[in-house]
Amino acid sequence: MIKAILVFNNHGKPRLTKFYQYFNEEMQQQIIKETFQLVSKRDDNVCNFLEGGSLIGGADYKLIYRHYATLYFVFCVDSSESELGILDLIQVFVETLDKCFENVCELDLIFHVDKVHYILNELVMGGMVLETNMTEIITRIDDQNKLEKQEAGLAAAPARAVSAVKNMNLPQQIKDIKLPDLPAAIKDLKF
């Protein structure tokens, strides 16, 4: 069984956390911290499995992880899971993200926490693998997107019109909206 799925960046800043076993908030943060410490000190070309930390599981648990550029994807699993199977599942997850976000990057995970959760929900349920067929997963996500678009088209149009009018001719307000300085944000991703 998968006990937790953690995604954090090279600085240990969490980007996605999903626990399939109940831990209180404080414990969740400690687990993230401990897992980051265990994983981040390892070289890139060593093996992708290591024994779990002290907080989540112990000897019967393994951390199975992959490192992609700025992000670590870590699955904490018990001994009933196949290590290589989980490794492939991480890959399916990332490939799906890549397709849904069209060239996924860390920012997508930051700005679309909800969407990432929805994608994960199609892959894993209650700690067990739900679906591994990428085509199938993407079809389901597309179905959801379609629903979203329909609703946006029907209901959101007036709301958008209102806010567009509201925001018109208000240069000061536009200035106040701090759009992120992109290259800088990437250079020193400081969370």
Partner: protein, 958 residues
């Protein structure tokens, strides 16, 4: 795909299509904060804002609620507690807009725990969505149930979900989720799965058209099988045929479920896991088909890869490893086992680190199968090489585990040596565990205990900091209990201590051993008493208080062993740094030892400071530590453990004594499994109440002569457990029986015609002993002559636990033989039965009787009728030493009358046997003939049968 997340810079921050710009702005703000403080400030501002929006009188529309919930989720992810917003999220559930509903569910899945008061409200919304015609809504509801997974959820939806799962109308997507949702609820509430016809309907999901449904169902079935394997037995043949269809499919057959040219790898893995819950199928057809599948998988591994991508090799090997797992699990196809072993052998030198890791891990299991144990040993060199060259500590750890698993008597010396070599450079994180493993292997497979002593001293030298107390206690226990290594140990520690810098643990071991056995090497002028003392004392000031305290005890022991250096030692004890030490323990020891050495006579000193009696043998304390260290053992490890033991014992059920004897011979030099402490005289005299000594008689004869050399030691090969019973004729306490699984100890006391025997059953394994049932029966010759009353014990002994059983007994008249003690239990599903005897012999009811020579010989003459006398002449088996003979006679329960027999070589004894009806006087005379190595034993008793019974019993003791 390796390039995912490398393209950051090329992308604009995504602004949401649905215009949740407030969220994007907030996130950007947070990211632009220059300090942690600024971030916290910004978050608190936002939380205050959201709170006021929620509390405000203006009703928020769905869009706004959704926006704020998204913000809260983001804040939560950053590690801030969220204590409001739950109600708003619940309201979103009943929204008729999918997007709002979705975010409501998301919030709840992340933030609502099982105890929340909101659950009741949530349940209603879920009910509505579950009955929706839109599968997307139904799935949202199922995901939510699975996420919360509480008892309430099980109660509320326990009826709906199974129906959803098997109904013909349910769409595949929903079916799939329903299977896993049900599994989640099953984990909290096992009753949720209806039995009866549902069983076969659930099993038949394995035949479903949709591979996703089969995958999910397979997980569910596996969990159900764990609980009730018999009920779900039917899944075996279905799983095998499904597997067979996948394995033989070409990669185009399964289309989307083919992953990088491997057909349905996840499902294959799941099916293979499922099958591991059952023994190999009985039906030859199914079994043949399964073996075919395994064969095909092994063959495919040899084919050239269809893709260079790592995903291809991962998927293919995931299936392969699972196939190997099931081959090991069945442990019945030697051909497949050997192929599996060869395949793993190839992986051992694969360039992929992951594969090397898994190969080492899986081989650990293979090493425990009797078919493949030898095949695994062929890879010993590669594994040792892995230990030396692997860059990844996780992999080296697996190599250590495998070496430990593949170790047996034939390769122990080499493996222990390699592990010692590696220890010098090993990672700090695994040193302690390695030290334990080396210590255990050295002890377990020692054929020569001098080697064992060398190994442990090397351990201390190389990794002293990681040698826990248990390890150095253990070496001392073994040295104390084995006379044959005492001299060697003393010599070796003496040499080791000569190193300019030696570890404190070495000083402890050295101090203890020289204090006990320094006399054995004192004959050599290079290790004369004064030299030994100065060597130890040169380390004294560098040591911690605990070690100094130990050394002070060594010094006082030296005063006893070597009176010639008494004044030197007294000077040390007198010195201010000891006598007025700020450490209370040191001060006390120094002053007490000093006064002991001044005021007492040498006799008293010799008694007080006598050599330590042997230690009680229990399970090796080190093994217990290792088990504790590895904590909750995984099911796999537990299985491995059980199999290692099974292999070493070669036990299946133990029907008779012959097999037990055989079993014990096969582990004869194994100190872990068998206790071999020599008896010391005082162990029988002093009623210490501890379990002492097992092979007393083997060793009782050879006492250490304090003249600087050891007496010729008895050989290390020992008698088996069945012999222990014989030794109980002359003693009341000790280990009656021991194998790798169980240790049975005895503590008994007798008063007149009554007795009480405490039987201690200790479980040495890491699994509970089930159906534990010891029975005592009084058989033929003892019928009516002795009664036993047995207190029942619990039917299960937990891992590592010990239970006590009391047996009350009464002697009605004199009897021959011993009551039977039958112990039956189940260990790892293998029923075991031990046929033993209760150590309750007639002589236990002796009361020693003192008398002078005159009255002895007058009584002797009174019992001159031929039927009152029993005489036996027999050859001596052990060494013929007075001390040993006395020990036996005292242990036999009679009063030894010294200085009575005109021939000082002879022994005479007197005692009374108490039975319910009468008292029987009993006299004994034992005449050793040293030239002929023979004894003549004469017993006279007031009752005819008694003399014969006693002669039978005692003669066997020599």
């Amino acid at each position: 795909m390796e390039e995912a997340f490398y393209r950051e810079a090329a992308k604009m921050p995504a602004v949401r299509g649905d215009g949740m710009r407030g969220l994007a702005v907030f996130i950007s703000d947070i990211r632009n904060c220059k300090s942690k403080e600024a971030e916290v400030k910004r978050i608190n501002k936002e939380l205050a804002n959201i709170r006021s929006k929620f509390k405000g009188d203006k009703t928020l529309d769905g869009y706004q609620k959704k926006k704020y919930v998204c913000k809260l989720l983001f804040i939560f992810l950053l590690g801030h507690d969220i204590d409001f917003g739950h109600m708003e999220a619940v309201n979103l559930l009943s929204s008729n807009k999918y997007t709002e509903k979705q975010i409501g569910y998301l919030f709840i899945s992340v933030l609502v725990n099982t105890n929340s008061d909101l659950i009741k409200l949530i349940v209603q919304s879920i009910k509505n969505d579950l009955s929706s015609r839109n599968p997307v809504h139904v799935n949202l509801a199922l995901q939510c149930i699975a996420n919360i997974g509480s008892k309430e959820m099980a109660d509320a939806f326990g009826n709906d979900i199974p129906k959803l799962l098997v109904s013909g109308e349910t769409m595949d997507v929903v079916k799939q989720s329903a299977a896993l949702c049900l599994l989640r609820l099953f984990r909290t509430t096992q009753e949720i799965i209806p039995g009866g016809e549902w069983t076969s309907r659930i099993i038949h999901l394995l035949n479903d058209q949709h591979m996703g449904v089969v995958t999910a169902a397979c997980s569910l079935i596996e969990a159900l099988v764990k609980k009730n394997p018999d009920e779900y037995k039917g899944c075996v043949s279905l799983a095998v045929s499904r597997l067979s269809r996948i394995v033989t499919a070409s990669y185009t057959d399964l289309q989307d479920y083919t992953y990088y040219f491997v057909p349905a790898p996840w499902l294959s893995v799941k099916l293979l896991r499922l099958l591991q819950h059952y023994p190999p199928p009985e039906d030859p057809g199914v079994r043949g088909r399964l073996n075919e599948c395994l064969d095909t998988i092994l063959n495919k591994a040899q084919e050239p890869p269809k893709s260079k991508k790592v995903q291809h090799s991962n998927a293919k090997n995931a299936v392969l490893f699972e196939a190997i797992s099931i081959i090991i699990h069945s442990d019945s196809e030697p051909n497949l086992l050997v192929r599996a072993c060869n395949q793993l052998g190839q992986f051992l030198s694969h360039r992929e680190t992951n594969l090397r890791y898994l190969a080492l891990e899986t081989m650990c299991l293979l090493a425990t199968s009797e078919f493949s144990h030898e095949a695994v040993k062929k890879h010993q060199e590669t594994v040792i090489n892995a230990l030396k060259t692997e860059r990844d500590v996780s992999v080296r750890q697996r190599a250590v585990d495998l070496l430990y698993a593949m170790c047996d008597r034939s390769n122990a010396e080499e493996i222990v040596q390699e592990m010692l070599n590696y220890l010098e450079t090993a990672d700090y994180s695994i040193r302690e565990e390695m030290v334990l493993k080396v210590a255990i292997l050295a002890e377990k497979y020692a054929q020569d205990y001098t080697w064992y002593v060398d190994v442990i001293l090397n351990l201390i030298r190389i990794a002293g900091d990681y040698v826990s107390e248990e390890v150095w206690y253990r070496v001392i226990q073994i040295v104390v209990n084995r006379e044959d290594v005492q001299g060697y140990a003393a010599k070796t520690v003496f040499e080791a201590l000569q190193a300019p810098a030696c570890h404190e643990n070495m000083v402890k071991v050295g101090g203890y051993i020289l204090g006990e056995f320094g006399n054995l090497i004192a004959g050599d002028s290079r290790s004369a008493p004064a030299v030994q003392f100065q060597l130890l004392h040169s380390k004294y000031h560098l040591c911690s208080a605990a070690t100094r305290a130990l050394l002070l005890t060594t010094y006082i022991k030296f005063i006893n062993l070597f009176p010639e250096i008494k004044s030197q030692i007294q000077d040390v004890l007198k010195s201010n740094s000891n006598l007025r030490s700020s450490d209370a323990e040191l001060q006390q020891r120094a002053s007490e030892y000093l006064h002991l050495s001044i005021t007492t006579t040498t006799d008293v000193l010799a008694t007080v400071l006598e050599e330590m009696p042997p230690f009680t043998e229990k399970e090796s304390s080190i093994l217990a530590v290792l088990k504790k260290k590895s904590g909750r053992m995984s099911a796999q490890e537990a299985q491995r453990e059980a199999r290692v033991q099974a292999r070493e014992n070669s036990t299946v059920p133990l029907p008779d004594k012959a097999q037990i004897a055989q079993l014990n011979n096969s582990t004869s030099a194994d100190l872990l499994g068998l206790s071999t402490p020599p008896a010391s005289q005082n162990s029988t005299q002093s009623n210490t109440g501890v379990l002492v000594d097992v092979l007393g008689d083997l060793y009782g004869g050879s006492t250490t002569t304090h003249n600087g050399t050891t007496t010729p030691a008895t050989t290390t090969s020992t008698a088996g457990a069945t012999d222990n019973i014989k030794k109980f004729v002359c003693k009341n306490n000790g280990v009656l029986y021991e194998n790798d699984i169980i240790q049975i100890g005895i503590k008994s006391e007798f008063r007149q015609n009554l007795g009480r025997i405490g039987v201690f059953y200790g479980n040495k394994t890491s699994m509970p002993l089930q159906g534990f049932l010891p029975t005592v029966s009084v058989g033929g010759t003892q019928q009516g002559k002795v009664t036993v009353q047995v207190k029942p014990v619990e039917p299960s002994i937990d891992a590592g636990a010990q239970v006590q059983q009391l047996v009350n007994c009464e002697c009605i008249e004199d009897f021959l033989g011993l009551p039977d003690l039958t112990v039956s239990f189940t260990y790892g599903n293998v029923p075991q039965r031990l046929a033993l005897h209760l150590p309750l012999s007639c002589n236990k009811f002796f009361e020693p009787t003192d008398m002078n020579g005159e009255s002895f010989f007058s009584r002797w003459k009174n019992l001159s009728a031929p039927s009152q006398e029993a005489q036996k002449i027999f050859k001596n088996a052990g060494p013929m030493e007075n001390a040993a003979i006395k020990t036996k006679l005292l242990g036999f329960g009679m009063q030894l009358l010294e200085g009575i027999d005109p021939n000082p070589e002879n022994f005479v004894c007197a005692a009374i046997i108490h039975t319910r009806t009468q008292q029987i006087g009993c006299l004994l005379r034992l005449e050793p003939n040293r030239q002929a190595q023979m004894y003549r034993l004469t017993i006279r008793a007031s009752k005819e049968s008694t003399a014969h019974i006693m002669a039978e019993l005692l003669a066997e003791q020599f």
